[in-house]
């Protein structure tokens, strides 16, 4: 167990815009290994939701199977959760989203869950630009089945049993970029400052928002020689830019772009403020993002931060031209054509 929650809470615990304290966003106690990166990601989700003042019951959290996929139990206990089957969260999230476009969807997956057994569904959720915040807690191994190499383990990375991985790694951010995902970021579970604004921005983005988070497995893949360990990640991490998420504030009327910083406006009026930009990288340009990603790879760097964003991509509901009212609220009078129409159909069959 990673943390013991203090029983006593200060009566003056800070409240957010809708009057909730952070407690409203917490979940059950984690049963993951102490120090597991996944718990830090859960913490960042709690913090992001608290700061964004989302209504917890307007969030649905979905996952596949794995240590990572267990984490929805550990945040937002007032949200409905769905721990589905291994690798199949994207399809369940697609159906859930089709049924009610008004909720916010957080999909949690692991590298085994998304890069192997669930690769097909991951790819197709991107293709459809499903409106979901899709977080991969990427530890380069299968934690829950005791440490086998996953498809995101780098070639040559050494696992706890001492053997080097022989196969090429799948870069989920690079793949998503290639597939046309409309929001792509990478982060590190040890970097809360970066994770929180990225999660907020992803939740504001009306489309598929991937955050591939390096989230070390302390039990099976945190040893020397592993390229998904805390130490290795800290040493090789390089950010595209410092990210700040600015919620909608009417008084901000002009975008500013002074000396290496840019403000990206999202549809809900919020702004992603990126400062200390990489040279030659433009978050709105897929080519430059691609180049930047390859360049980092060739230098064995782990590129983090916002990698690419397309603020104009149409999400699945827009593509399908569904009604604004959630489909799950439509009633018989909206849906059933009635017996007179059926009589006409019968007549055409005689």
């Amino acid at each position: 167990m990673t943390f013991v929650r203090p029983i006593f809470r200060h009566p003056e615990s800070p409240k957010n815009a809708i009057g909730y304290t952070k407690k409203h966003y917490e979940g059950a106690l984690s049963t993951l290994c102490a120090g597991c990166g996944h718990d830090s990601v859960s913490g960042a989700i709690i913090q992001a939701c608290f700061e964004m003042a989302v209504e917890p019951h307007k969030v649905a959290k979905l996952s596949g199977i794995g240590c990572s996929s267990k984490t929805p139990t550990y945040f937002l206990s007032n949200s409905h959760g769905f721990n589905s089957v291994h690798g199949r969260m994207p399809s369940v999230a697609t159906g859930a989203n089709l049924a009610n476009r008004d909720l916010m969807y957080i999909g949690i997956s692991g590298d085994g869950d998304s890069a192997s057994i669930g690769m097909g569904q991951f790819v197709h959720a991107i293709r459809r630009n499903l409106n979901v915040t899709y977080i991969i807690m990427n530890n380069g191994c299968y934690g829950l089945t005791k440490g086998q190499d996953s498809a995101t383990a780098d070639a040559g990375s050494i696992n706890k049993s001492g053997s080097a991985n022989m196969y090429q790694a799948i870069d989920m951010a690079g793949l998503a970029l290639e597939l046309g995902a409309s929001f792509i970021a990478r982060s590190f579970s040890g970097d809360k400052e970066q994770m929180i604004p990225l999660i907020k921005a992803a939740m504001s983005h009306p489309g598929f928002a991937l955050i591939d988070i390096v989230s070390p497995c302390v039990t099976f893949n945190n040893n020397p020689g592993s390229t998904k360990s805390y130490d290795y990640t800290r040493e090789h991490m390089e950010a595209t830019a410092a990210v700040d998420y600015v919620p909608y504030m009417p008084e901000i009327t002009t975008q500013y772009a002074e000396g290496g910083s840019v403000a990206v406006a999202l549809h809900d009026g919020s702004i992603i403020q990126l400062s200390k930009l990489d040279q030659d990288w433009n978050p709105l340009d897929r080519h430059s993002a691609m180049n930047r990603l390859y360049e980092a790879k060739s230098r064995s760097e782990i590129l983090t931060g916002l990698i690419y964003i397309d603020t104009n991509a149409a999400d699945l509901h827009t593509l399908l031209k569904t009604v604004k009212k959630p489909l799950n609220t439509l009633e018989k009078q909206d849906l059933c054509p009635g017996s007179a129409v059926l009589e006409g159909i019968n007549n055409s069959c005689r």
Partner: protein
Amino acid sequence: MHHLTALNDFVVRFANVNGTGSASANLMFAKSIFRMGIPVSPKNIFPSNIQGLPTWYEVRISEKGYLGRREGVDIMLSVNPQSMPKDIANVKPNGYFLYDSTKELHKEFIRDDIHYLGVPMMQMCMDKFSDPRQRQLLKNMVYVGAMAALIDIEIPVLHEIISLQFKGKEKLIAANFQALDMGIQYVKEHYKCPLGLRLERRDKVGDWILLDGNTACGLGAIYAGATVAAWYPITPSTSLVQAFEKYAKKLRVDPETGENKFAVIQAEDELAAIGVVIGAAWNGARSFTATSGPGVSLMSEFLGLAYFAEIPTVLADVQRGGPSTGMPTRTQQSDIISAAYASHGDTRHVLLFPSTPAECFDHMAEAFDLAEQLQTPVIVMTDLDLGMNENMSPPLAWDDSRAYERGKVLTAEELENMAERYGRYLDVDGDGIPWRTIPGTHPTKGSFFTRGTSRDEYAAYTEEGPAYVRNVDRLLKKWDTAKNRTGAGVVSGEKPECFRGNIFRHHHLRCPGSPGTAGSTRYYPGCHACQSVSI
């Protein structure tokens, strides 16, 4: 040589080339007989191929209402040289072989015990029509005309059908009438009409309809208020979801905004298709998928989840020949065990067995009520024969006062006023069916975690033996509840007392149109296409 003679009781088979537009002409032929009040059962016999291979359309005409396929072809219409040797061999002695005599028949095709009726269909169309594609289509009408004169189909009936089919396209109607007449005149001039095999108007079909089961299922989903459909193409289920989409585009588009009150997803595979259905159902929308055997295999994983996590899930299984890819375009009822027990562990699923298109419609609509009432998968078991052929059926019926039975779902008010702690898997009513909540209902009450792992009454993960046993015992209790909800099966046939049997549709239509049968809303005991299940 003798001539076959029969009144309203014979089999006509059309040998066509896939992709030449013969299907609509053939359907007009069958419909015209149906409109003359005589029972018919047309069957499509087609290969797993798109263009160029032979397809057959076999119409059994039976005044007495025997509509299963019968051995022996009385009249063979052949416009496909490729299958000609086989087609000639299939004609009953003293039967007829009607063919396109534009090219002379090869000597080796001549049998001395059947009658040859040549009509130079292609030549006639070449002479009369200039557009090559039109020639091909109109040639089909020429053979319908020839057939009509030979067996005494009422020409005004055919005219009526053609006029309806091409409503608003006057030129096409005229061309079709002309082609029809060319066929009629040619056979009248060259052969004795009608043959000994002929038709005479009857009043044996009442208000029944000719419809394929897949369309009926698709309409059932429309009427039941399904809003999400996800599927992966597979014969013979494809036309089911396509029918749903076709009617949704007609009947479910907001007239003001042009926006859709439905969503159809062509998924990446059957795993995803049923995943979408489960996600939507979990979130409170009626949703369904349709597939066939290979898809059921893939969907098994998710069916187990839906069973154990208790999520209403509607699936239509339009069965085809197995095992494996099997006979993709032939019918079989070989998924019954795999559907009944789909997925590992102690799963069992509610299956509905429609036997007519009217029942396809009813059962599909009923499946949504049952799935939500029972919170479990409900599988509508049809097959290629029922799904892809125009079957005679009582008309589809919908009672406008019928409400959607959404099962045990707690509202925000009910949650607000609830004094005790909400337990997703608590059996508060003693029928094994717990109460569910839809995401987003209440800010602080009613949320729970859905999972395929063992859990306690409050949906919390547990590996405690007693909690597991309580859960599976409750599921068994729910199963008993389900037995009483689904209504009894209909057992009929010649020998319902037989002790050994198959599940089959007994194509025996005893009372088409007789009072009190046609149009009744649910079950049609003793009627066409019954199932006898007795082991």
